[in-house]
Symmetry: C2
Subunit: 242 residues, 2 copies
DNA sequence: AAGTGGTCTAGACCACGTC
DNA sequence: ACGTGGTCTAGACCACTTT
């Protein structure tokens, strides 16, 4: 039998798309509550159960956060719980202190082969490169080199980075309205080169984790490419396999 | 106000526990279909929707697999799609060939400090240690050293490992009725020692990924502890952050 | 045609947080 | 007391697979 509707999409997915579009358009800001399920059901002329299923999926994707008795909220990187969603590094001695981000450098350049491919932008398009150090309990543990599309981050400067107390993604969200949704990391083992060994205060040649990350915002659009070098003398990368 | 029921558990979670127990007791084997939602609803005297919600959660946890029109099936490591659920290593050139497992050694020992802590067994309890090589397209990429509680794997031998064509977890499931449910990996960067460098055919001192994994079966019981050394010259560890 | 999981609805009631 | 999300039910209908 021929399929009647090869592009069949259940109602709750269509509702999900509509909510997603409202989210993307900035109708509700990160951290704020979205309308109640009843209100959304009325707005879209469907039952509450259908709205519920749409929100369920979005909550599972960390786009929304449900709080019984209070409402449903737009997920935000300002929420401290969101920090370790993307940073999987854990101290071996179980110390739970928050890491400190120290900007080292920030300059503008043109996208080369690799950056243009990873960020999905044209060769030679303006980009911003940030180097920064991550410290746990004052000890340097990670050196990051971060590549950003220039047109998405207008006015990003070294001073702006220094002035910000919080995570980078928190800054991106607050200053540029850009929400990081998901990321993909490619991990390899490499030997520390000269400049890295100095920054991390380890001997040259020390094995380090090389963590390359591409981060996506709404619509699976890549907006960050970074390479981090992790010292694993006193920390490890923790991954849960389900 | 004092909470009326501090141990409140919704009905669908109780149903989930009952299905879990049936699964654990081996009432339905891996790969087989479980009863239909209607049958389970009748068996537990609840509505189909409640059973559905219980199964939904278990499907999200990769314990069950739903197939529209056919039924709901017990997840199995014999399913080839399950292989890369725990093995996150990907060739850099996108070659999708399946890895080949080559057993190197298998012997019995008594649990030391670390093994007893990781496996949750007594110091000196019998364990089995397996060393094996993983090859992608004939090239050696991973050396694993695997620690197993002896009483859970009676009769496991080097010959049994050699005779098996398939993944280790597939063997464990088929031969010992042990289903691996979830795992936790701790990743660090280390330098290749003498014996590892020979097995992986890389120079001594080459940076390698050290991947320590604890694997759990039903009831969060640890039943495997392994340490893998990954050569990342032509492969990388891929991790999706959602 | 029959059986399975998947969707959608409408209504009742519960648990939680706030006023 | 009220509004929110969370649970549970019962029934109708849809999509997919097999007989």
């Amino acid at each position: 039998m021929a399929q009647e509707s090869p592009t069949f999409s259940p109602l709750y997915r269509q509702i999900k798309t509509l909510i997603l579009q409202a989210l993307e358009a900035g109708e509700w800001r990160p951290g704020q509550a979205i309308p109640s399920e009843q209100e959304l059901a009325a707005r879209f002329s469907v039952s509450q159960g259908t709205v519920r299923k749409a929100i369920d999926e979005m909550a599972a994707e960390n786009l929304l956060i449900r709080k019984q008795g209070k409402g449903t909220f737009v997920a935000s990187h300002n929420d401290p719980r969101a920090l370790f969603r993307f940073l999987r590094l854990v101290p071996m001695d179980g110390d739970l202190s928050h890491p400190q981000s120290v900007p080292l450098d920030c300059w503008r350049a043109k996208a080369g082969q690799e950056a243009s491919r990873m960020l999905g932008i044209e060769l030679g398009a303006p980009i911003i490169i940030v180097r920064r150090l991550l410290r746990f309990a004052q000890k340097p543990v990670v050196v990051d080199e971060i590549y950003l599309p220039g047109d998405v981050f207008p006015g990003l400067s070294f001073e702006a980075l220094q002035d910000w107390n919080g995570s980078l993604y928190s800054l991106f969200e607050t200053r540029f309205g850009l929400r990081m949704i998901r990321a993909q990391e490619r991990i390899r083992a490499v030997a520390a080169d000269r400049s890295t060994s100095e920054a991390l205060k380890v001997p040259e040649g020390t094995p380090l984790l090389s963590v390359e990350r591409v981060t996506y915002t709404y619509g699976d659009k890549p907006v960050e490419w970074r390479r981090g070098l992790y010292s694993t003398a006193e920390h490890f990368y923790l991954n849960e396999l389900n």
